[in-house]
């Protein structure tokens, strides 16, 4: 799985993503600069976490107009796999590749902690091989991860099974006390209609080996590998 990791000024999780994919999983990885217009033969593009353009104006608002994002939009349209993590999720929403927006956390606090996520669907590219209701443990690290969508958009997400992950208790119950940021319906991650574009607030790349506190993040990257293999058959 040839992976490109997009680096905007202010991106900070690019090397963590490369570590998880290359050092841990042995997949080929290259960094993609924000001015690049050609993604070449990549299979997966990751928009990593961080503070692109200092989060000025709104998180992801400036990054969305970079040359590389035009290429990412075309890549997604052609069915390429796109994964937006944390700030990358915000960029995907600003670019209208995913619906909704991420507001300031309900607590007004930056939350940096491990959360439990319940897997809500297993048809998208990034949930291949998972079980519905499976619980993943991943870290979050954000001040603006409070998912918002208007009721009509929420309805579309729900009826089309596009809510991918919800914050839950370790036992898999979606409950207010398990929701770290006030997200509507406990939503932690959503995908597009085709299932090839995923945005989520938690950081799978920071849960890639036991030494870091867990390795559930690898399940998500392996799902992408499986999706590509299935598509190649």
């Amino acid at each position: 799985m040839k992976t490109g990791i997009v680096v905007f000024p202010g991106t900070w999780s690019d090397r963590d993503c490369a570590y998880a994919l290359h050092d841990v999983l042995g997949e080929p990885v290259r960094y993609v600069g924000h001015r690049e217009r050609d993604l070449g033969d990549l299979d997966l593009v990751i928009l990593p976490g961080g503070f692109s353009y200092g989060d000025y104006l709104r998180c992801g608002a400036i990054a969305r107009f970079t040359p590389v994002m035009e290429a990412v939009a075309r890549f997604a349209q052609d069915g390429g796999l796109v994964l937006g993590i944390c700030n990358g999720f915000q960029v995907l929403q600003e670019a209208r590749l995913l619906p909704g927006a991420l507001l300031r956390n309900a607590s007004c606090e930056f939350r940096c902690e491990w959360v439990s996520l319940r897997v809500e669907q297993t048809w998208s590219a990034f949930t291949q091989g998972m079980r519905p209701g499976q619980v993943l443990s991943l870290p979050i690290s954000h001040g603006e991860g409070n998912f918002y969508a208007d009721p009509a958009t929420l309805e579309v997400l729900q009826t089309n099974d596009r809510i991918v992950f919800r914050y839950a208790t370790p036992q898999g119950q979606v409950a207010p006390q398990a929701n770290p940021n006030g997200s509507t319906a406990g939503i932690a991650g959503i995908c597009n209609a085709r299932g090839n574009v995923l945005g989520l607030m938690p950081h799978p790349e920071r849960a890639c080996e036991a030494l870091l506190g867990g390795s559930d993040g690898l399940v998500l990257f392996r799902a992408a590998v499986m999706a590509l293999q299935a598509a190649a058959v």
């Binding site: 709104r58 929403q93 909704g100 507001l103 007004c108 409070n146 918002y148």
Partner: protein
């Protein structure tokens, strides 16, 4: 020259935790008459045009494309004609 003030606020239906926190702080200071607080931002643009209609149109376009996110935010524009700097008036 025109000065365009663009005020961006969250839509009324969108929760504003920042505004709620500020309201609580004001209540704690004794300003109990405060019913509601909505936080927003002010973007003040200086535009190199003397045509009010053009200034309005370009500000509107900038607000739609970049300054506000229509998913969660509304914006209001107000325009003020600026005195041109003396140097350029003489030129």
């Amino acid at each position: 020259m025109y000065q365009a003030d663009v005020i961006v606020t969250l839509k009324p239906v969108v929760n504003d935790p920042q505004g709620s926190t500020i309201k609580s702080a004001l209540h704690a200071l004794g300003f109990t008459a405060v019913e509601d607080v909505r936080a927003g931002k002010l973007l003040r643009l200086t535009l190199d045009t003397d045509d009010r209609a053009e200034a309005a149109a370009m500000t509107e376009s900038m607000a739609r494309q970049l300054l506000a996110n229509s998913v969660i935010e509304d914006f209001k524009i107000s325009l003020v004609a600026l005195e041109a700097p003396a140097r350029s008036r003489r030129a």
